[in-house]
Amino acid sequence: MKVAVVRFPGSNCDLDAVEAIRRIGVAGMTSQLVWHESEELTKFDAVVLPGGFSFGDYLRAGSIAARSPAISKIRRMADEGIPVLGICNGFQILVEAGLLPGALLRNSGLRFVCAWTDVRVENADTPFTRIAHEGQVLRMPIAHGEGRYYAPEEELRRLKRDHRIVFRYSDAEGRATDESNPTGTTYGIAGISNEGGNVVGLMPHPERACDPLLSPYSSDDGRLVFRSLLGGAGG
């Protein structure tokens, strides 16, 4: 499986994502940086939109990248069922492109929040969660100023009904409370999927939780997100 990590001007978690996938160490699974204007994108089996500040977050986070050449290709790939993962700014791009519903607004405290969070897996039936079990708690960091997921009431009802809420902020025991919701997101949402389930966006950074040495909590829970792509193969 060849995974493309798309680099936009202003991406800054792209190399982390490439390295995280490389370290999963599964034979046949490779990752490669792909410039957002590249024609190569359609040759890949999965796509990751990494975190960062694409195009300097001008207008709104993700809004300019959402009009880049990569997104029209990713739209077609998503229609064909190719797995697409948007992490942080990547999630913002997917929302701004209309590939995922809703909006990502300024955090409720109007401050950039950088913290380790616990998120509960709500849907283990996506290409990025299929080796998890529903209710499993993953510890991954967030780092963003515009990550307060918002969906109008009707959209939120649809997301719940169609089982498209993939991650919710929770405490370490898996209880989704106001206190465990660091940015005031609607319903504690940390990640959602499209109708097909193959496009997933989340605000926490799994690529920063792949090496216990780099986590104050020795968390490598983010590996689960990438290992899921191969159905759990690899260590």
Partner: protein, 52 residues
């Protein structure tokens, strides 16, 4: 206090035959380019100074 408004605006300069056409062009541009996210934002277009 009767009302409060917070946010930011974009000033767009267009060439049009009159204010109505200018407004139509800007609304179309904002919709096509998704300048605003309809899930969370609304769009208000006001015609400002019309240059000769």
């Amino acid at each position: 206090m009767r009302s409060i408004r917070a946010g930011k605006f974009l000033r767009v300069e267009v060439v049009a035959s009159d204010g109505e056409e200018a407004k139509r062009v800007v609304v179309q541009m904002c919709n096509e380019l998704r300048i605003f996210n309809p899930a969370a934002h609304s769009l208000t277009v006001e015609v400002g100074r019309i240059a000769a």
